[in-house]
């Protein structure tokens, strides 16, 4: 949290400073109020008191009340502004930081966690700053000031207040000491319930097919029982809190008056009146003190959650991205569209095993290179090295004759049309998705988009959609099917007019026919563009200029379909599992 506080800028510090002044003013006014009350008490009890005096004291009281409210308003105003502007800045810093991350940092944190850090955690911190400024600073000032005010007015009363305070804090601490761990456990148990329910929902057909409804119900019941037991414990604990606090407060007033009776009775005549007014006022102060302490306790309860959030935010902000931008903006002349891997090896930082080892090959302009291998053979990782999602551990990768690390990321990205395994869609329209991004040239026109969609075999379904190219796409593309998404994502790469296509298993979601037609269209319409294709299906890649077969991170075969069928065991095995011998036309 301290680190977050250090991120306040001078404007916010100034606002915080002004808040502090007004907090002190507010406390002063709050504590002044009972003073006038004491004055009034004395007036009523003094024989021959003046009515006008009472009105005057009342007027001051009113001023105090209004003044205190005004001060609180000012403090609230600044606190809200500071909280909002800190969270705005933190959010923006986080967003920019995450944007600069490579796949490596992202997978270290996980996307889901980064999202929570940028949303929920920030809200938590904002809440703490806003509340904290108002309560955390005010409560101790209030408590200390009020204590000094009453300290001189009677040891017995002070002692009674002290005892009440001690009891109150003790009760709250004990209750929370007991139920806090249970609260933590509750999250786990709730997750448990969620998991079992989700399990049942995703496996609905299996559950029914195996007549296992009762089995699932029993499991749910057990988890439900656990959760309920814990919730009973915590809510009973919390139930004790309120009545106890009420009791303490009422008890304290009673004690002050009761003690007061004895004190006044034994005092000499002159002091009696002062004592009486002190007594009435003391109960007001005592309440203020108790309230202040309760606020402090609340903050201590709230604090740990926000602290965890602050820590999580800092973790992200303090992470330095591994990818460092180069300076070149263009490649060597005459080498456009060439991709060269030169003894490239890759392992994840901290891992001992290589994912890729000693990979060398080169692809010329307009050629198609395909990568095939079983899951875990490293084929996706390999092509992810080209757009620098990761940097090679050893060796170098050249695009247009220049090491990819020497380009500015923007320049490198302008050369690439990348289609990921999982189709990513953004909220917007068909054309905003297809014409997505910036390729260093002017924005895509409607005819560019239409042409790209046409090549990606999407014209038919897009023109059936309401609004056609301006048809709305929901967040995550949930309103169109998987195959349609895939075609739009391919259109996006085409629309970019890149030098190099990278298809990371992008054709598997398409049926054979669409797959084939699409690839023919690509070949025809975008001749001269280099393609790197990762695929599962032999049919997708058998016409590639060069097929690279990977097994456990190493190249075990390189060549054309025909060549590999005769010379590469792994390739033949894969081919045979998909097609029969006569189909392979050996």
């Amino acid at each position: 949290m301290l680190k977050i506080i250090k991120r306040l800028n001078s404007m916010e510090w100034l606002q915080a400073g002004i808040s502090l002044v007004f907090i002190i003013a507010q406390v002063w006014l709050d504590l002044k109020l009972p003073d006038y009350m004491s004055r009034i008490t004395q007036l009523t009890q003094t024989p021959g008191g003046e009515m006008s005096e009472i009105w005057k004291a009342g007027g001051y009281m009113l001023l105090c009340a209004l003044g205190s409210f005004a001060a609180a308003m000012i403090v609230g105003f600044f606190a809200a502004r500071i909280g909002a502007s800190v969270s705005q800045r933190l959010r923006s810093q986080l967003f920019n930081k995450v944007d600069s991350f490579s796949m490596e940092e992202i997978s270290r944190f996980s996307t889901a966690s980064l999202i929570t850090r940028s949303t929920n955690d920030i809200t938590q911190v904002q809440l703490l700053i806003t509340m904290g400024l108002q309560m955390f600073i005010k409560a101790p000032i209030m408590a200390v000031w009020a204590v000094t005010k009453i300290a001189g007015k009677g040891f017995e009363w002070t002692a009674a207040t002290g005892v009440a305070l001690f009891l109150l804090v003790a009760v709250i601490s004990v209750i929370f000491a007991f139920i806090m761990p249970k609260f933590k456990k509750m999250q786990v148990l709730t997750d448990n319930i969620n998991r079992i329910t989700m399990e049942n929902l995703t496996g609905l057909r299996v559950v029914r097919a195996y007549n296992a409804e009762n089995y699932q119900n029993d499991k749910f019941e057990a988890a439900n029982e656990d959760l309920t037991a814990t919730q009973l414990y915590t809510s009973r604990g919390m139930a004790v809190l309120h009545p106890t606090m009420n009791m303490m407060m009422s008890g304290l007033s009673l004690a002050i008056y009761w003690i007061g009776a004895y004190l006044i009775d034994s005092a000499n005549a002159m002091d009696k009146l002062t004592l009486f007014s002190n007594m009435v006022v003391f109960s007001s102060y005592a309440m203020q003190i108790i309230m202040a302490f309760m606020m402090v306790v609340m903050i201590f309860i709230m604090m740990p959650r926000a602290m965890v959030s602050a820590k999580r935010i800092n973790e992200v902000l303090e992470t330095e991205p591994a990818i460092i931008d180069g300076r070149l903006t263009s490649g060597k002349d005459g080498m456009e569209g060439e991709v060269i891997f030169n003894h490239v090896s890759f392992r994840y930082p901290g891992a001992s095993d290589y994912v890729l080892q000693d990979i060398s090959f080169s692809v010329k302009k307009g050629e198609t290179a395909a990568f095939i291998g079983s899951t875990g053979s490293g084929k996706s990782t390999l092509i992810n090295l080209v757009p620098r999602f990761f940097d090679a551990t050893e060796g170098e990768i050249q695009v247009d004759g220049v090491n990819v690390k020497n380009y500015t990321q923007e320049a490198l990205n302008n050369k690439i049309g990348y289609v990921p395994q999982k189709a990513v869609m953004f909220k917007g329209s068909v054309s905003s998705n297809v014409g997505y991004g910036d390729n260093g040239r002017e924005a895509a026109s409607l005819s560019d988009v239409q042409k790209a969609v046409h090549i990606a075999q999407g014209t038919e379904f897009v023109e059936k959609m309401a609004g056609k190219y301006e048809a709305e796409i929901a967040q995550g593309g949930t309103n169109i099917s998987g195959g349609q998404k895939q075609r739009l994502v391919i259109a996006r790469a085409v629309c970019r007019k890149p030098e190099i296509y990278i298809f990371d298993d992008s054709f598997s979601a398409l049926d054979y026919k669409t797959d084939r037609v699409l690839r023919s269209a690509l070949k025809e319409e975008t001749a001269g563009v280099t393609s790197l294709i990762v695929a599962q299906r032999i049919g997708t890649i058998m016409d590639a200029d060069q097929i690279i077969v990977l097994d456990e991170g190493r190249i075990v075969g390189k060549g054309t379909h025909k060549y590999l069928l005769n010379n590469c065991g792994v390739y033949r095995e894969i081919a045979m599992s998909q097609l029969s011998e006569e189909e392979l036309a050996i």
Binding site: M61, F77, D99, N200, L201, R205, V206, A209, S235, K513
Partner: protein, 617 residues
């Protein structure tokens, strides 16, 4: 369903005041839901009523407090010097009287605390029990609803009813009903007590509080507006963050960062403005409450003092009113909050009851016919079906499958291949015609009995958190360890399982790293243990890579041996030897026959089959 949605309600032990003053989701029909809720809680009603009576009684004891404190103050002030006929007279305090009142108050306060304590304990217990029952009922309901319901509802939606909505009910019900009763009692009690003591003072106190509250309402209405804006902007920015983070790769490679940042900063700055305004306004509630309290306090002091001076009232009354003002203002805001909470309860309750009232599967207890020891003949007789009544997709399909034959269902993605599975398993009911197993229409036997005849392996390998053994046996009675081992040996899993730390007792959870292929083998072993005469394999190998596929394929060949099997396949090479191939397109079965027959027909199948070899021209 995003992670955020599920977590939206996970509050810590203390809900902060800020969250409380947010806009409240309004139920569509408050009264109806509440009466349903009361109906639902019927068996707990006596307990609830006792708790509420205790709450009221406890509050009354608390309200009498200041009145007694007044008597005490008066007793004490008797001991103050006073002027009688211009001569100061010394009086003394009647300490016995003071002690009597004090002890009485001790009893009152203690009694009040006990009553309130028992009230909150009872309410806490009752609401938790009700929540538990709701969760159980929802969970059971899941397994009694037709699949149709789930095919049109997102899982996240059902999930959020089990957790978020039930949680909301548990929390708000607990807080709202008790608070409502104590607050109302407190409000009326202190109102009555104030007028009982002195009407001028009472009017002063009530009047000043009302002025304060009108102020508060105005601000609250205003802050609701900003709160709604803030929630909207927060939703937008969270959506944007989610979208950009999940698409990070694409955003980077397409140089979309600049655009994304621009949009982000735009929303972020809007959020800043609405955030500080709503925070500021809702943050005003506390000081405002203080002001209302203070206004009452000042008014009571001044008016009280002037009345006390001319002897209309005793000073004790002033002391009593100083407390009554607080007792009176406090419940007003609590009632508003409790009412908000009740609305939340109703909104959540509405969703829960809506789910619980969904139409269930028809009860089939009266169906006497049973399938027993069947051979595995399947016949489709003039089958007609559509997912919605107005759109029939399978018009009139007939076919015969003899026991032990292999039926393949093929077609492009989205052609409705799983429809056949849905119909065979009676997940959906036919609109016309019949499906018969060994000449018995499956609609004439109970659903469970139909399910018993099938083993099933699906594309999405479904394993649950539990031991490997439990996953394989899955609900089947009387399976021996030997049978499990035998099944695993057949599918080639035994050796792998032996290498796991706990063998067959290894718990499968997110930490256990099983490959897709191994998971699939477990589900095949599960189908094997089931030992049913018919088998459904729905794209069982499409999520594994080709080399693993051969292992899985081998296991499946073992499984299909001697069973009537329905195979849905992506790769046509695996089903060429099927006895019957059904070709589906746009939901309907457009061709059927053997591989050779279909090729000869040169129809859709032939086109589909040939397309996989053609080179991209």
């Amino acid at each position: 369903m995003s992670e955020n949605n599920v977590r939206r309600n996970n509050q810590g032990p203390m809900r902060s005041g800020h969250e409380m003053s947010g806009p409240v989701e309004k139920p569509k029909n408050f009264k109806e839901t509440m009466s349903k809720l009361i109906q639902y809680c019927k068996s707990y009603l006596p307990a609830i009523i006792i708790a509420l009576v205790a709450a009221a009684a406890g509050t009354i004891l608390q309200i009498v407090g200041p009145d007694k404190l007044k008597d005490m103050t008066n007793e004490i002030s008797k001991g103050l010097p006073s002027l009688i006929g211009g001569v100061p007279v010394m009086n003394s305090i009647d300490m016995d009287a003071v002690a009597d009142i004090a002890w009485l108050l001790v009893v009152f306060y203690a009694g009040s605390m006990l009553l309130n304590l028992s009230q909150s304990l009872m309410m806490a217990t009752v609401t938790q029990r009700i929540s538990k029952r709701m969760r159980s009922d929802i969970s059971r309901k899941i397994n009694r609803l037709p699949l149709k319901y789930f095919d049109s509802t997102s899982h996240g939606d059902v999930l959020s009813r089990v957790t978020n909505d039930v949680d909301t009910i548990g929390q708000t019900l607990n807080q709202s009903i008790g608070t409502m009763v104590t607050s109302i009692t407190m409000l009326f009690g202190s109102f009555v007590m104030m007028f009982y003591n002195n009407w001028i003072m009472a009017l002063t106190a009530v009047g000043s509080s009302v002025i304060g509250f009108v102020l508060m309402m105005l601000i609250m209405r205003k802050s609701q507006k900003y709160f709604a804006v803030q929630q909207k902007e927060l939703g937008r920015i969270n959506g944007h963050i989610e979208e950009i983070y999940t698409g990070h790769n694409v955003v980077k490679v397409y140089n979309g960062s600049k655009d994304a940042k621009k949009t982000f900063e735009e929303i972020n700055s809007k959020l800043y403005h609405s955030a500080w305004k709503s925070q500021f306004l809702s943050g005003l509630m506390m000081p405002l409450m203080g002001l209302v309290g203070n206004l009452g306090y000042v008014a009571v002091c001044v008016v009280g003092a002037s009345l006390a001076m001319n002897g209309t009232i005793s000073f004790g009354v002033v002391v009593a009113f100083m407390m009554y003002v607080r007792l009176f203002t406090q419940p007003l805001s609590q009632i508003a909050q409790a009412f908000n909470n009740l609305q939340r309860t109703a909104a959540a309750g509405e969703r829960v009851f809506e789910f619980l009232e969904e139409k269930e599967l028809i009860n089939e207890d009266q169906k006497q016919k049973q399938l027993y020891n069947i051979k595995g003949d399947v016949e489709f007789k003039h089958v007609k079906f559509g997912y919605s009544p107005d759109k029939t997709i399978i018009h009139d399909f007939s076919a015969r499958v003899r026991a032990g034959q292999k039926v393949a269902i093929v077609g492009p993605t989205g052609a409705g291949k799983t429809t056949i599975v849905n119909l065979l398993m009676r997940f959906y009911e036919l609109d016309g015609g019949e499906i018969c197993l060994d000449n018995i229409p499956i609609s004439q036997v109970p659903r469970e009995n139909v399910h018993e005849q099938f083993g099933m392996v699906l594309q999405d390998t479904w394993l649950f958190e539990g031991t490997i053994r439990d996953n394989i046996i899955y609900g089947k009675q009387g399976v021996t360890q030997e049978q499990v081992v035998a099944a695993c040996k057949t599918v080639g899993l035994h050796h792998f399982i032996k290498t796991m730390p706990e063998g067959y007792d290894t718990v499968l959870n997110s930490k256990a790293s099983l490959s897709e292929g191994q998971k699939q083998l477990i589900t095949i072993a599960r189908a094997m243990i089931q030992n049913a005469p018919l088998l459904i394999l729905d794209e069982a190998t499409s999520s594994v890579d080709t080399r693993t596929e051969r292992i899985v394929q081998r296991a499946m060949d073992q499984l299909t041996h001697g069973r009537t099997s329905f195979v849905i396949a992506h790769r046509l090479s695996t089903i060429k030897n099927a006895d019957l191939i059904m070709v589906m397109k746009d939901g309907d079965i457009i061709e059927s026959g053997t591989h050779d027959e279909l090729l000869k027909n040169a129809g859709f199948y032939a086109e589909l089959y040939n397309s996989q070899f053609e080179q991209a021209a």
